[in-house]
Amino acid sequence: MNKNEPVDWKKYVIVFFITGTLFVSVLWLSSFLNTKKIDELRSVQDKIYVDLMASEVQFSLLQESSCKDVSTTVLSSELNSLADKISYSENNIGNTDSDVISLKKYYSILEIKDYLLMKKITEQCGNRPIFILYFYKNDNCPDCTKQGFVLTSMREQYPNLRVYSFDETLNLPVIKTLTSLYKVKESALPALVINGRAYPGFQDINAIEKILPELKKIEKKSATTVPAAATEKSATDSPASATPAQ
């Protein structure tokens, strides 16, 4: 009777341990790198926080004198790049990760601080503010994705437009305060708040330009002075960075 060669079980076990070790190392490496990224974001946010405070203080000091000495430009671009990174982390580390969520909350608060400061500065210095507050939710909101695309494109078109985006699903009390202040209903997301008025539902570029006719005027006047404002980027479940899962 012929016989097949016996199975070398020891080898199967050894290979299992080699593969297991490799596997655990990869999981560890991935979580190590993700922690590094989170730390990096945290330090960026801390820096932005300090800068914001500095600007506030600077503004208070200079209130009496000239408006043009207040610098906020660096801050805005930092908020922008932070938004990009948080958005990427939501896709790459996961939007249910507790670290990512806490970073996003921190970011929302920074946005509000920046918004309040900018509002004060523009009121004080006579410019009409061009702010859009953008409320969205992450899940089950195809219009939010569309709105995100519209605002990204407008931000590129109008560098003096400042968009502050807030994720409703974060359940952050400050955001709740904002929504009740401007009477934004949770059922009507996405929603924009422009000049204190709420516009529920998707708004395309033309609609927003109609609401904000001064957009084009100021664009011409001050295009060179104020760079890109805060971003709504984190609003979009950015499909471009949704790399196919392997």
Binding site: M1, N2, K3, N4, E5, P6, V7, D8, K11, Y12, I14, V15, F16, I18, T19, L22, F23, V26, L27, L29, S30, S31, L33, N34, K37, E40, K85, Y88, N92, I93, T145, K146, F149, V150, T152, S153, M154, E156, D204, I205, P239, A240, S241, A242, T243, P244, A245, Q246
Partner: protein, 428 residues
């Protein structure tokens, strides 16, 4: 849902890495036993008689080369006979082969079309040689191939069959170059599985058997048009040893277009799945050795894995296009700005694991090519292989699984080979 998806992703990558490391460990255990003769010409202790059967159906263009390569084999002429069997060709092949009629080594047969296995069985019934093999009429043998294979039989009386190293003949286009890389990787995998005694295919082109195999186990059967897989499984079931000769080179013509490749692979994969189903009693039975514990399970798992990963990729591509479409509808496409920042490097574990899988695949390819005459072990053709196969393999595998489930027979006819069931064999 996302959790189930990631559990499956992790499981698949674990098993893929496991299988690759398993082969790699086998390689390091046995690397001294991998013999590459190069230009050395073997002198054998004995030259058993050999019959090579060439079944053909409408192969007028390639058959002359096939036969000439057999006649050029470095083997004593009186010990090697060649049977040319026309399986009812409709073209000129029969008259093309007449020029060999006077050669004392060659015998010609003509029968009504009955499918490849009936043609080989006719050769089998006519042969009295100790060793029996067949060569597809679109393949060519290396002059030393037979000697190298017979050497393995001579050295180990327990070896009942030896599979050759199949390579792609004169790869012209990108698709054929990609297939060449795949075949070269196959040489490595086959040899490693051969060391473990778990070979599941004795390929149609030039696998050589002791005649005793057929005397004991019976002739070829149709086996879903993959009779070369069925005979290997039958041998494994009965504990007949199958070895692999990594330097017995056979050059075969590879499909030159995607539709041809697609049809060929559907037939292979379909046949493989159906044969595994027919021999499912071997799976996870340790008494059958590696075939039951490693080869067949990894075949099934990789089939599932490719479909799973393929559909994930397709889903993501569709999603990407969908969002781009929406973006174009509501806004202008923003100009992408490229600046490298480590933050935007993908650090997901699944991504790192897939990189490791690719590195292991490339290692297999390089090791496979080191067993061939190939000079450039790391060539850009490896990228063709990875790219083209990642793109189209999921489709043929999914289609084969579908066909296997609904039991839809894949037809040879599409590959110019008919499958009309007609066992009316007649010798001319």
């Amino acid at each position: 849902m996302a959790d189930i998806h990631s559990i499956i992703s992790y499981t698949i990558s674990f098993l893929a890495i496991y299988a690759q490391i398993f082969l790699l460990v086998t390689f390091f255990e046995n690397r001294k036993n991998i013999i590459k003769h190069g230009d050395e010409i073997l002198e054998l202790s004995s030259y058993p008689t050999v019959t090579i059967t060439v079944p053909f159906f409408n192969e007028e263009k390639t058959i002359t080369g096939t036969i000439e390569s057999l006649l050029a084999l470095d083997y004593p002429r009186d010990r090697l006979s060649i049977f040319l069997i026309d399986d009812g060709s409709l073209d000129n092949t029969w008259s093309v082969v007449q020029k060999f009629a006077s050669n004392p080594q060659i015998k010609l047969f003509k029968k009504e079309n009955g499918g490849k296995h009936t043609a080989i069985n006719l050769g089998l019934s006519m042969s009295t040689a100790e060793l029996f093999g067949c060569l597809d009429s679109d393949s060519y043998v290396h002059p030393q191939a037979l000697k190298r294979i017979v050497n393995i039989f001579n050295n180990d009386p327990k070896t009942m069959s030896v599979a050759p190293a199949i390579r792609v003949n004169n790869p012209g286009n990108m698709l054929q170059k990609a297939q060449k890389v795949e075949y070269d990787m196959g040489i490595y995998i086959k040899k490693m599985i051969g060391f473990l005694g778990g070979i599941n295919v004795t390929p149609g082109p030039f696998s050589i058997f002791r005649k005793k195999v057929f005397d004991d186990l019976g002739p070829y059967v149709k086996a879903h048009n993959t009779e070369d897989q069925e005979i290997a499984l039958r041998m494994q079931e009965h504990g007949y040893k199958i070895d692999h000769c990594p330097d017995a080179y056979i050059y075969t013509n590879a499909p030159s277009t995607v539709p041809k490749l697609y049809r060929q692979r559907i037939r292979w994969t379909y046949g493989s799945l159906r044969n595994i189903f027919d021999y499912r009693r071997l799976i996870f039975k340790k008494e059958y050795g590696t075939i039951g514990v490693f080869t067949l399970p990894s075949n099934l798992i990789s089939t599932f894995g490719v479909i799973f990963i393929g559909s994930t990729v397709v889903y993501n591509v569709i999603k990407f296009i969908y969002y781009k479409f929406i973006q174009i509808q509501v806004a202008s496409i923003s100009s992408p700005h490229f600046h490298f920042e480590w933050f935007f490097v993908d650090t997901r574990a699944t991504f790192i694991l897939s990189i490791i899988v690719y590195i292991l695949i490339i290692t297999s390819i390089v090791l496979g090519r080191s067993m061939t005459e190939e000079k450039h072990r790391l060539s850009p053709h490896i990228l063709y292989f990875i790219f083209i196969y990642s793109l189209i393999a999921p489709f043929w595998i999914a289609k084969s699984v579908y066909n296997a489930i609904v039991s839809k027979e894949s037809s040879w006819t599409l590959e110019r080979k008919a499958t009309t069931i007609n066992n009316d064999i007649k010798q001319v």
